[in-house]
Amino acid sequence: MEINDLIHKLSQNVKPVRRLPPVSILLLVWLAGALLCLFWGVRMVGCRLDLGMRCCEPTFILESVLLLSAAIFAAASALAMSVPGTTGTYLLRRLTFVFLGLWILVLFYRAGQWITEQGYSALPAGLEGYCPLDLFLLGLLPALLLLVLLRRAAPLDLGWSGILALLAVGSLAAFGVQFTCVFGSPIHVLIYHALPVIGLGLTGYFLGRWLLRRNY
């Protein structure tokens, strides 16, 4: 088809469109909806009994802040990348990985301290529990909401958009699981919280290319 023919065809069929809101609004919408779903999910699963005590611990606060920050920056990055020409996406992406990296570093540090105190014989006790199912349940609705927002936009780099979207959802779910998981061992958190989040991010590459694809 000649370019002029294509221009004629496209302009003949043009209809008014509803403009996409700014990325900041999209992010706020997602955050509000996701935190609401998280709150409801945590209530359904049930809070840990020692939550009051844990909330006063510096490491708990630090990990919560790191996870929430990673979730926010990952979602902001995914949403920003879904609008062509948006600047600052590289920085947002970097910040996502900085916060996630810091979280994992904190976990490794805590794991090292735990092994030093308890000894290697206590390792099997650290492997108890199974949280990926809770992670999945807490992350499902936020994931669907983010998917709807991304599909409403026009992501160009589907792989990266998928990675960042699932890292956002995974980090948020891991933040929520902090309030429900009764196993305090950092080994448990590394294996049953951190690894699934990383796995989710990697899966996001393929899911993004499948679910965000549009024909235009």
Binding site: I3, L6, I7, L10, V14, R18, R19, L20, A154, Y216
Partner: protein, 187 residues
């Protein structure tokens, strides 16, 4: 890779009108976008044919993504982001097609000598070649019949190596279809 602020503003205003459903403004916008992208893409692909293909894909993408443009933002970054992405798609396809070229060439080589002698393959190939567009025919002629390397053939045709590979790939694909169809007809 930038437009003057006046041009940016003009395109932004046209896009705003297009988002409100103004078909004349939209046609004008797309025509101007095509002009801007033409020189940009010819520099990067080396051939007007590839540039035209990418321009068409970019226009379709602009059509599908026009609701994401915010009128308070400059138009050029939005437009070039889409165009750069389509250019990247083009290079990825070209890399894949270069690998498939070998398979396409084997289609021609798969006809054994006996087959070519028995069922007038030479005549069919000559006719199929004659039906190709001139540039594609020349690309095949230089590389396969006269035996020039890809670089030498590209130099003779005054085009880039990647442009020559695109022409050759399209020629092989067309020949495969033509020769395959004729074979089916003869059965």
């Amino acid at each position: 890779m930038g437009l003057s602020s006046e041009k940016n503003q003009r395109l932004s205003d046209l896009m705003k009108q297009a988002q409100d459903g103004d078909s004349l403004a939209y046609a004008e916008l797309l025509a101007e976008v095509s002009q801007i992208l033409k020189s940009f893409l010819i520099k990067r692909t080396g051939t007007a044919m590839a540039a035209d293909d990418i321009i068409q894909e970019t226009l379709l993408a602009i059509h599908g993504a026009r609701h994401t443009y915010r009128p308070e933002k400059p138009f050029a970054p939005w437009m070039f982001a889409i165009s750069q992405h389509k250019l990247g798609d083009y290079w990825r396809r070209l890399n894949r097609s270069t690998q498939r070229e070998v398979q396409n060439e084997l289609v021609l080589q798969n006809y054994s000598y006996a087959e070519t002698q028995n069922n007038g393959f030479d005549d069919r190939l000559t006719q199929a070649l004659a039906e190709l567009p001139e540039k594609q025919r020349r690309a095949v002629d230089l590389t396969k019949i006269q035996g020039y390397s890809v670089e030498e053939a590209a130099q003779k045709m005054n085009i880039g190596v990647s442009a020559l590979k695109v022409l050759a790939h399209r020629a092989y694909k067309a020949l495969r279809l033509k020769l395959g169809r004729r074979d089916d007809g003869n059965k």
